[in-house]
């Protein structure tokens, strides 16, 4: 059986999108199947994302555009997967392409149909807070940009009359009798990424969602906050549109509630509520914000700081209490919340608005599909995965990522998306490159020395532009501008037939520059550049003038002024077009091998993954043993053994012919750039050199050695890892300890180490359960600040409580006191919940010590010029969307070096980092964007100002021939232009944005 070189991804939220891009960029064809009319998932609905508070859709935008334009990604939106048959390497998917009643080939997304459609229906993208038309796109940035007729509400489909959209569509794209189409596709591997759906808040009757207008869900509140939402970002109550002054968030609605069949923690709600409270304060500083919660779960990278900032900087009030009920006051629609603060009686408090932090439930259609195709799901519907391989489902060749595997936030979803991508492509590595399309292009014409012959096309965009701007007048004006050979106006510049027409006109009039005045270059520039290239012109001889988003749409009441502005914008573009030069993307060869730094679980996994993909890897380890921390991780809460796993992995790595392992080896220096790094290694003190295309940093972390609570002074005090080792290696001795106390957050969540170590709560619970197994009568007391058994780990916390493990909460300011007392220990503390002094004796005290970055992290960061965060962990380029990449291209990170995490997360992250690395490794040559700085050696005086200005170390003064000058490393230059500004002589000049090209536009401003 021959394998298929394609991968099918079912579900196009952020996890599926990341998987699709990684796979398509490493030599495979990708089918992205989405049940909804457009891709983007829930992330597209979010206003901002924690902990950076970046705009959600702005971060997603570039990924959506890349996917829409990718030659090897086919987006099958509005399509259901009916069945999946076959076996790993060759699956067959039966698809039902639902009829949109719109011809996707003809629809250009102009939106005239929606503007004229008389039927308004509730807008599900805005959770019904406003209305959309019966012919619609879910949101403005929708990909694919194709309208869909909502047949349940459309007048023609429900009453047989109307057909207005058909009449107004200038492209005849409306096809009422379009049938659903059944289709089958072949794919070598399948990734399920169906994501989640929010908990139905009305099931919690005591909170009144659906009955009281001012009780909204967190997703509704997200739309309220969004500047692109129904209220343009003005916070208001639904009852009267007035600004609320007191808003309460109620946590764990539909999470940690076994009686609703939702025993799990949803992982994200604590942080999104904190984010919403902060954003609320940023919008309106005088709104009081209160969050009611059980445990504050800030277990991700940067989350603890975010939470502390919410309290100290923004004054968000946190109350640790469940709210028992919400009662409305019908007179003014305020809401009275009843709750019992710790150590106090029930209190009542009025709020103007209540936000319910609703939990994450797996997407029902995705769960149904999983069940149908024999992928096991747990009792709550999440896909069951291998305990140490979080993306492997019960059915070989079918992988899972994102919230369908368990509730998780965006970075975890993105990492898992990359991880699933790596598993899928590893299965298909021998058929890499067999199904990708490569375009055949005509030779490029040489336009050097020719006088500019500019063609100008002014787009009507149906009526989007033409109803405000007099496009004909603008085209006539354009024809009068110097060097304009041809100018016209056109209904849809972007339609397929018009692309052919532009190509024909380029030949007919021998055009050597093209200006299109239409919509935004951010979405449409790639399309027109392709058209130029297909016509034999260099794609950079193109200029787009934005007369829609930045003219007709924002000056709707002023047609004359808008027309005048359009003329001026076209004039500026034409002026710039005269000076445009061809730019050639630079391609260079790639050394198709990877260096992995660090021989722990993550590093070993990464090296193995590179080899499984068919490339050579070198693994270097500072010490003389491989395996790292995992060697002493004897079992996980789910019963797997990382220690055994890593032993086997070491054996596999050492016996793999594609992997070289160097122990007692460190990096002494590094040079080169993405695709071609040269590293000098010190192997047992001897220097040697290696070349690699990519580098994966997996230097790991280590357990903090506590200085508090008598650690090191009393033999009855040990760390959680030491305890685990004793539980496994000497169970007979361990079970004799009848009274065991554990103290959490030792070295974590401290002012100098303001982060949560993520694993300690679960470790404490796991080890408690193990001790209970050995000695059911053991009395175990866990002294904690917040229990952070996030996601599906919550069930183990519940189990521990059911088995009688006692939990006592202490405040940071009132830490427990430990003293030696005869042959045991005495611990005294103030129980924060009961506000009572508690004293206990313990035979053993176990400290949940923090995870710190490995000691050598700082040195390595200096040698490799890698950024670290405030806590000393390596810093990824973007915590949300590129969690596995360093800012320097070709360098990736994973494992504890990036931040505290569980063994299975480190493994998934290592695979994910390799998936990212494959986007380079799998190419013989990589092409870097041509818009980079070039240095004119005649003007350069080697002063080094550029070198100091460059944030990417891309420009350096070097000796060239017999003199010094600045030299640009093409692979590193991002085209930001900072060096151009620093350069005193004008020697450094950014292609496509040269001084004269900008000056010419300025000159045309008031011509």
């Amino acid at each position: 059986m021959e394998k298929s070189g394609a991968v099918a991804i079912v579900g196009a939220g952020i996890a599926g999108i990341q998987a699709a891009l990684d796979i398509a960029n490493s030599g495979f064809r990708v089918y992205v199947i989405e049940e909804k009319p457009s891709v983007g998932g829930v992330m597209a609905q979010l206003d901002k994302t924690f902990p950076t508070n970046d705009c959600s859709s702005c971060m997603m935008g570039p990924k959506l555009v890349e996917m829409a334009n990718h030659p090897n990604i086919e987006i099958l939106a509005y399509t259901d997967v009916v069945d999946i048959t076959g076996s790993p390497g060759r699956f067959e998917l039966t698809l039902k392409k639902k009829a949109r009643a719109i011809d996707p080939e003809k629809c250009v997304g102009c939106g005239i149909c929606a503007a004229k459609c008389p039927t308004k229906v509730s807008d599900e993208f805005n959770i019904g807070l406003n209305q959309r038309k019966a012919v619609y796109i879910p949101y403005p940035q929708a990909v694919p940009l194709i309208y869909t007729i909502d047949k349940e509400h459309c007048r023609y489909f429900t009453k047989g009359k109307c057909r207005i959209c058909e009449k107004v569509c200038k492209n005849n794209a409306v096809v009422f009798d379009q049938p659903d189409v059944m289709e089958t596709i072949q794919a070598g591997a399948v990734i399920l990424s169906g994501g989640f759906e929010p908990f139905n808040a009305s099931l919690k009757g005591e909170y009144g969602h659906g009955r009281f207008p001012n009780v909204v869900t967190s997703l509704e509140y997200e739309r309220i906050l969004s500047a692109a939402g129904p209220y343009q970002g003005h916070i208001q109550r639904l009852s009267d549109g007035k600004k609320p002054h007191r808003i309460a968030w109620i946590q764990c609605v539909g999470s940690r509630e076994a009686h609703f069949g939702r025993p799990h923690c949803s992982s994200v709600c604590c942080m999104y509520a904190t984010k919403q409270a902060i954003i609320t304060k940023e919008h309106e500083a005088d709104i009081d914000t209160t969050v009611f919660y059980i445990d504050m779960r800030a277990h991700g990278k940067g989350f603890e700081r975010f939470y502390e900032r919410a309290k100290s900087q923004y004054g968000v009030r946190y109350i640790r209490s469940l709210v028992s009920r919400v009662v409305p006051n019908p007179e003014d629609n305020t809401l009275r919340l009843s709750y019992a603060p710790e150590g106090e009686r029930v209190r009542h408090e009025e709020f103007d608005m209540v936000v319910l932090s609703i939990g994450l439930c797996p997407n029902k259609t995705a769960v149904d599909l999983a069940k149908k195709i024999g992928v096991e799901v747990n009792e709550n519907g999440f896909c069951i995965t291998d305990p140490l391989d979080a993306v492997a489902t019960s059915r070989p060749g079918i992988y899972v990522c994102g919230a369908l595997q368990g509730p998780k936030d965006i970075p975890d979803s993105v990492q898992q998306g990359s991880g699933a991508a790596e598993k899928a492509t590893a299965l298909l590595s021998e058929v890499r490159g067999t199904m990708i399309t490569e375009r055949k292009l005509p030779a490029e014409k040489n336009v050097a020395g020719q006088a500019p012959r500019i063609g100008v096309f002014i787009c009507h965009c149906g009526i989007n532009i033409a109803s405000t701007v007099d496009v004909k007048q603008v085209a006539e004006y354009a024809a009068t501008l110097p060097n304009v050979t041809y100018a016209t106006n056109t209904m849809f510049a972007c339609s397929t037939d018009q692309q052919q027409e532009i190509k024909r006109l380029i030949h007919e009039h021998n055009l050597n520059r093209v200006v299109v005045a239409s919509c935004t270059p951010r979405t449409h520039e790639p399309l027109f550049r392709d058209t130029l290239r297909e016509a034999g012109l260099n794609p950079y001889l193109f200029e787009l003038s934005n007369i829609r988003e930045q003219d007709s749409w924002v000056h709707q009441g002023e047609p004359e002024a808008a027309t005048q502005k359009a003329k001026e914008l076209v004039r500026m573009s034409v002026s710039r077009a005269r000076l445009l030069e061809p730019i050639y993307d630079i391609s260079y060869s790639v050394k198709q091998s990877g260096l992995v730094i660090g021989g722990g679980l993550a590093g070993l996994t990464a090296a193995m993954a590179i080899a499984e993909q068919g490339y050579e890897a070198t693994l270097i380890e500072r010490t003389d043993t491989l395996g790292g921390n995992a060697l002493n991780l004897y079992y996980t809460e789910e019963g797997a053994s990382p220690a055994l796993f890593v032993q086997e992995l070491i054996h596999k790595v050492e016996s793999n012919p594609l992997i070289k392992v160097f122990r007692q080896t460190e990096i002494s220096s590094i040079s080169g750039s993405c695709g071609n790094f040269t590293v000098a290694l010190s192997v047992n003190g001897k220097e040697q050199q290696e070349n690699h295309g990519v580098i994966v940093v997996a230097t790991g972390g280590e357990e903090y050695k506590p200085e508090e609570y008598l650690y090191g002074k009393n033999p009855r005090v040990m760390t959680q890892k030491e305890f685990e080792s004793m539980l496994v290696n000497d169970p007979e001795k361990t079970k004799k300890y009848n009274r065991v106390a554990m103290i959490q957050c030792v070295g974590s969540r401290e002012p100098d180490h303001q982060y949560c170590s993520r694993v300690c709560c679960t470790s404490a619970v796991k080890n408690s359960l193990k001790l209970k197994e050995l000695n059911p009568s053991a009395q175990i007391s866990i002294l904690y600040r917040d229990i952070r058994t996030y996601g599906l780990k919550e069930t183990y916390y519940t189990q521990a409580r059911q088995q009688g493990v006692r939990f006592f909460r202490f405040e940071y300011e009132q830490k427990p006191k430990v003293s030696a007392k005869g042959d045991c220990l005495e611990i005294s503390m103030l129980d924060a919940g009961l506000q009572l002094e508690v004293n206990m004796d313990a035979d053993l005290l176990v400290l949940s010590a923090a995870i710190r970055p490995k000691a050598g992290t700082k040195d390595l960061s200096e040698i490799m010029r890698l950024p670290r965060d405030e806590d000393g962990f390596f810093m990824e380029v973007h915590p949300k969307l590129r969690p596995l990449d360093f800012a320097t291209a070709g360098l990736f990170l994973c494992g504890l070096a990036q931040g505290p995490k569980f063994a299975n997360e480190a493994i998934a992250q290592a695979r994910g980092a390799v998936s990212r690395a494959l986007t380079v490794l799998s190419q013989k040559e990589i092409v870097s964007e041509g818009v980079i700085t070039q240095v004119d050696p005649r003007l350069c005086r080697a002063c080094g100002e550029c070198e100091r200005a460059c944030p990417f170390s891309a420009i350096k003064v070097q000796t060239v021939g017999d003199r010094k000058q600045a030299v640009v490393t093409e692979g590193l230059c991002t085209g930001c232009g900072a060096c151009n500004v620093a350069c005193p002589t004008g020697a450094a000049s950014l292609a496509h944005f040269r001084d004269n090209q900008v000056h010419e536009m300025l000159q045309a401003l008031c011509a």
Binding site: S467, W553, H555, L569, L1005, C1006
Partner: protein, 76 residues
């Protein structure tokens, strides 16, 4: 279109020409979103899109003024 101006417009004599240098990734995208959201603003603003406002040379600002701009905005 019957859309009312949603801003108070100054008299013609006070209509300054404003030039903005904007970053492709944030401010330009923001201006696009303003369009998509149909936010109405005065038509006397012109944007020049750069890949990064790091490219904005102080000379550009001076040049903008000499070319006739009354105000210059750098946003990125």
């Amino acid at each position: 279109m019957g859309v009312k101006k949603r801003y108070k417009f100054m008299s013609d004599a006070q209509k300054p020409k404003i030039l903005a240098f904007v970053c492709n990734w944030c401010a330009y995208a923001g201006a696009d979103l303003a369009g998509v959201s149909r936010m109405q603003y005065p038509p006397n603003v012109r944007l020049i899109r750069l890949m990064c406002t790091g490219r904005v040379n102080p000379g550009f600002l001076l040049k903008a003024f000499t070319a006739g701009a009354d105000g210059v905005l750098v946003s990125g």
